[in-house]
Amino acid sequence: MLILIRAVIGRDLRLAMRRQADIVAAMFFFIIVVSLFPLGVGPEPDQLRKLAPGVLWVAALLATMLSLPRLFAEDHRDGTLEQLALAPQPLGLVVLGKVIAHWLVAGLPLVLLAPVLGIQFDLAGDALAVLTLSLLIGTPALSGIGAIGAALTLGVRGGGVLLSLLVLPLYIPVLIFGAGAVDATVSGLGPQAHLSLLGALALGGVFFAPWPTAAALRVALE
């Protein structure tokens, strides 16, 4: 079982490495969206500081979401997904592997970048730390939940945008707790409550989501 998951992760990471662009560009998308906001909203530092948690979290959410369509689409198009569905193991485990790989490629880099971008918004030290921590806990949930949406919209025309339509409502709790944790820190309340709720979402996202995802994949293949 672990071997299978490892094999899936290994393959997906190798594919990501081969494309190179994938990892680097996901990060830069995050950077660019975050940098767009001051351009749209205006450069006053006070205002920017207030916006920071919301903007960073929304950007992380969008960056993750953008990489979702490719989670299964290519495997579907070139027939690999059929092969995975016909493999003699529960499809859910394969999905779990793919979710983990997706997080490593699309989630983790955001976490690492967040402190640097926070500085652009003039955030203080502890707020930066909580921001990073909240992203570290929250992004796995984004990958897990996103997988369900990616599977449901698989092979559906115009899937990419439909996908965001399905997934964003599910992302809202993550966004609220994530940005809330930082806000709470800035305003002097502790972030613990928010963070533990976020942790619960992440656990659910990673370990529960693969099973509906697998079911959706089987439907898409019919």
Binding site: R19, Q20, A21, V24, A25, F28, I32, S35, P38, L39, G42, P43, E44, P45, D46, L48, I119, Q120, D122
Partner: protein, 249 residues
């Protein structure tokens, strides 16, 4: 007329350019070192303290050359890109790809030194000022160029795609600069305005110019080195590269 064109194309062929570049590189390194030492000596040892900014202003000797180079290299890159599209010479694309990383490096250094300057002077690492913002976008443009070329494996295709992007980018740079400037001045508000450097003492000016020259020489030397590597890699099947490497044994 046609004679001169042919002549030009002769130097545009990698086979003739490679040894030429090899002979030039040490000279540019030497010049870079001389200018660099002179500039830094003036800047850090001789130049007086700035009345308003204290000693912190000395970052200027790094920051301004880096900023200038980052902008200038983009122009040169776009020039080579245009040549490549117009005349379809192999050298042009190679030059453009050889310049991009150095340009990105200087854009990054400009940001880095600027941020380190901003903290003591303005009290913050970053403000969304026109110049700063355009420099950041310039870095994005460089990275986009490099990423695009890296994502295409066929070098000829990569060259052409990169050239198109570089040209579109060069049209866009002035637009970006003025739009940002406009946006920012209209907003004003709480933003910190850039403290104008005082009319510079002649010594400071000299130091800055020498440092800038050093960066120039450095960029040329690096670009020539990189273009030579790119040539070897791309032309590895040609007889001249085989002969060259056989010679080295």
């Amino acid at each position: 007329m046609s004679n001169r064109v042919i002549n030009w194309f002769r130097y545009a062929s990698p086979q003739t350019f490679y040894p030429l570049a090899g002979r030039l590189i040490p000279w540019f390194w030497a010049l870079a070192a001389i200018f660099g030492v002179a500039g830094l000596t003036i800047g850090f040892l001789v130049a007086p303290t700035d009345a308003q900014q204290g000693e912190g202003y000395r970052i200027i000797f790094l920051h301004v050359p880096a900023s200038w180079m980052s902008m200038f290299i983009y122009l040169v890159m776009a020039f080579w890109a245009a040549m490549g599209l117009a005349f379809n010479t192999r050298l042009s694309g190679m030059m453009a790809s050889a310049l991009a990383p150095t340009g990105a490096l200087f854009a990054f250094l400009s940001l880095w030194t600027g941020a380190l300057w901003g903290k003591p002077m303005w009290g913050t690492w970053w403000v969304w000022d026109a110049r700063l913002t355009s420099e950041l976008i310039l870095l994005f443009l460089y990275i986009g160029f490099i990423a695009l070329q890296a994502a295409i494996d066929d070098p000829r295709r990569a060259d052409k795609a990169g050239a198109i992007l570089a040209l579109v980018g060069v049209v866009n740079i002035p637009i970006i600069y003025f739009s940002v400037k406009w946006w920012n001045t209209l907003h004003q508000g709480a933003s910190v305005s850039l403290t104008k450097a005082p009319s510079m003492a002649a010594l400071m000016l000299w130091g800055m110019l020498l440092c800038a020259l050093a960066c120039w020489m450095y960029s040329i030397a690096i670009a020539l080195m990189r273009v030579r590597t790119i040539m070897l890699e791309r032309e590895r099947h040609t007889d001249w590269v085989r002969a060259l490497l056989a010679e080295k044994e």
